[in-house]
């Protein structure tokens, strides 16, 4: 994908202003060391504007959404539905195609369960048979994922295969951390009913060629599900341009609150899908003998919804829009390039994933010769540098890359080049402490 919008990295003054919005970045850790937060791939920090929006909701409008006729209930419902519209605009979607979930994992499970739930008696009554057939999954059918998936876009599909008798297949990963697209036509076949893949690898930082995969999936009539957790916070994402059928992402990785995720789906597909979680809010008529269900998105939002989180997420979208996604991308790209350049100067470090900045996002995983990533992370932490260590919920990928675990730095708009320098400086202590170099 070479269509990353062109922007400019933030100036020093702009960076300072952005950082001023994130109170936590001013704190110190481990005995007075300034916090260098390079773990935004796990969860991002939160700007004051997002926190203010949540607080304002609770202080001024709090009520149960879609219930009651009092004024607060109306205001809360307006706030919640307004947030849906904002999130939809942010990703180029129609408002009614945006479903709020508790996180991206639930969004992906929602889609996976739609396939197996569609097999229940009467679940697809009234649905156009051609559309219903797209969700019919059984022995002989195939589900395709990739070897670089986060467990949340891997285990739900394994489980779906187990429930339905379908076969799980996957697109492999090359030594340099790209999808092995040479496999595409043999892995995605006429038997494939759904292709679920990540937009950006949370470990390798690889930006996958969505168009190529979608083209092949469409050619065989398979539905496509995109895990956009690591793209929506960092790249301008337009769900219509991407051409996929479903997109899932989390709020907390994009400067929004914990406890909210998003599923976007094409409306005709959402409308055909049976419910996932059931209960209040998602019904049309309930009788003791059985119930009918509301249209999407309400059909998939059982229970009192997380209105404050939705409001917070909308504020996060507005914040990112104000920064300009093209500039966020450019800024993070500059940081990524600076880190890759710095790591390249250290022969005792090996980057796991693309070593150049092309089609690459700001998650940089690496290993230090002879030293376990937990130990690397500990030394970095001692210098106030927060990174993630482990397999980052992508164990099969680590196995494929022949490493037990990695150390991962990941960026957000509030990071700076001096933080990259702080990481590299702290990293230089690692071989000294463990006596592995010189």
């Amino acid at each position: 994908m070479s269509d990353i919008a062109v922007g400019a990295a933030f100036t020093t003054a702009e960076s300072a202003a952005i950082r001023g919005d994130f109170a936590i970045l001013a704190r110190t850790v481990r005995g007075g060391k300034p916090l260098v937060y390079l773990d935004s791939g796990a969860t991002s920090q939160k700007p004051r504007q997002m926190l203010d929006a949540e607080r304002a909701f609770y202080e001024q409008h709090n009520a149960a959404v879609h219930r009651g006729a009092h004024q607060l209930a109306e205001e809360a419902t307006d706030a919640y539905e307004g947030a849906r519209a904002t999130v939809a605009r942010f990703i180029g979607a129609q408002t009614q195609e945006v479903v709020f979930t508790k996180n991206a994992t639930e969004a992906l499970n929602l889609v996976a369960y739609s396939f197996s739930n569609a097999g229940a008696t009467g679940a697809m009554d009234g649905v156009d048979p051609a559309l219903a057939a797209r969700f019919a999954l059984g022995v002989g059918d195939e589900i395709v994922i990739t070897e670089m998936e986060h467990h949340s876009n891997l285990v739900p599909w394994q489980e779906l295969a187990r429930r339905t008798g379908a076969t799980l297949r996957w697109i492999g990963v090359t030594d340099d951390g790209r999808l092995n697209l040479g496999d595409l036509d043999t892995v995605i076949t006429e038997r494939t009913k759904v292709v679920a893949f990540t937009h950006v690898s949370n470990v390798l930082g690889t930006i996958n060629p969505v168009d190529v995969i979608v083209e092949r999936a469409r050619a065989v009539g398979a539905l496509t599900v995109l895990d956009a957790c690591q793209s929506v916070p960092h790249l301008a994402v337009d769900v219509v341009d991407l051409g996929v059928d479903f997109v899932a992402f989390s709020g907390h990785k994009m400067l929004g609150p914990l406890g909210i995720g998003v599923l976007w789906g094409r409306y005709d597909l959402l409308k055909a899908m049976p419910p996932f979680l059931t209960g209040g809010s998602m019904i049309e008529v309930v009788r003791m003998e059985g119930s009918t269900y509301a249209d999407p998105p309400q059909r998939f939002e059982a229970g009192v919804p997380m209105a404050a989180q939705a409001v917070g997420l909308a504020a996060a979208c507005d914040y990112l829009t104000d920064l300009g996604m093209a500039r966020v991308t450019a800024h993070e790209h500059a940081l990524t390039q600076a880190l890759l350049d710095g790591l390249a100067q250290r022969p005792w470090v090996r980057v796991i994933g693309p070593v150049d900045g092309k089609d690459r996002s700001g998650a940089v995983a690496f290993v230090v010769d002879g030293i376990h990533p937990h130990d690397v992370g500990q030394i970095l932490d001692d210098a106030g540098v927060a990174v993630r260590v482990g397999h980052h919920c992508a164990w099969p990928l680590h196995r494929r890359m022949d490493v037990t675990a990695t150390t991962r730095a990941s960026f957000a708009a509030y990071n700076t080049v001096s933080e990259v320098d702080a990481l590299l400086t702290a990293l230089d202590r690692v071989p000294v402490i463990f006596g592995t170099v010189l």
């Binding site: 937990h374 500990q378 037990t404 675990a405 463990f434």
Partner: protein
């Protein structure tokens, strides 16, 4: 920083009693799902029950310096001692590791294990230090030793013992051990 004591680095570079050996009464495989660290550990006992002697502990470990060194120290501490003594060492080790820095450890009970006192200040690393010990107590159970009357029976780390970024996983780590002791 006080975590990486010289003695830990030494044990991690040159782990004692490493490698898998015959004969053995029980072999277990334990994994730390957070980081993918693994240990395969074998126990050979001479005698029966808790008065039995730990004749050998052999292992194949892939892990960080803390877990590798801790398993090395474990093997060195328990080989040639009774199961009862080994379980006492384990209890003392666990007490120190979960003390949040309050318990410096007793060298008479845990030998080089006292070097791990600093680990207790880093909750995310406690399970690294205990990986080998969890495997060891599991292996004892599988070898037919009833450890239910000892504090080791409660070796399963409670959520309050370990605060990590991934508590679910921390719990999973120890289920195999809890399950076995409750079977």
């Amino acid at each position: 920083m006080d975590l990486y004591q010289e003695i830990i680095l030494e044990h991690s570079k040159r782990p004692l009693h490493a490698g898998l050996r015959e004969p053995f009464n029980a072999q277990v495989h334990h994994v730390n799902p957070t980081c993918g660290d693994e240990v395969t550990l074998r126990v050979q006992l001479s005698g029966q029950g808790r008065s039995a002697m730990v004749a050998d502990v052999s292992y194949d470990a892939a892990g960080c310096s803390i877990s590798t060194a801790a398993t090395s120290v474990l093997a060195d501490e328990v080989i040639g001692h009774s199961v009862t003594q080994a379980l006492t060492s384990f209890a003392a080790m666990r007490r120190m590791l979960t003390s949040k820095g309050a318990d410096p450890g007793d060298e008479d009970e845990i030998g080089d294990g006292v070097a791990f006192a600093g680990v207790s200040k880093y909750p995310a690393r406690i399970k690294c230090a205990l990986l080998g010990w969890m495997a060891f107590t599991d292996a004892l159970t599988q070898a037919g030793v009833d450890i239910s009357q000892t504090s080791a029976a409660h070796s399963a780390l409670s959520a309050s013992d370990i605060t990590t970024s991934d508590n679910t996983i921390a719990r999973n780590t120890v289920t195999s051990n809890t399950r076995r002791t409750h079977d």
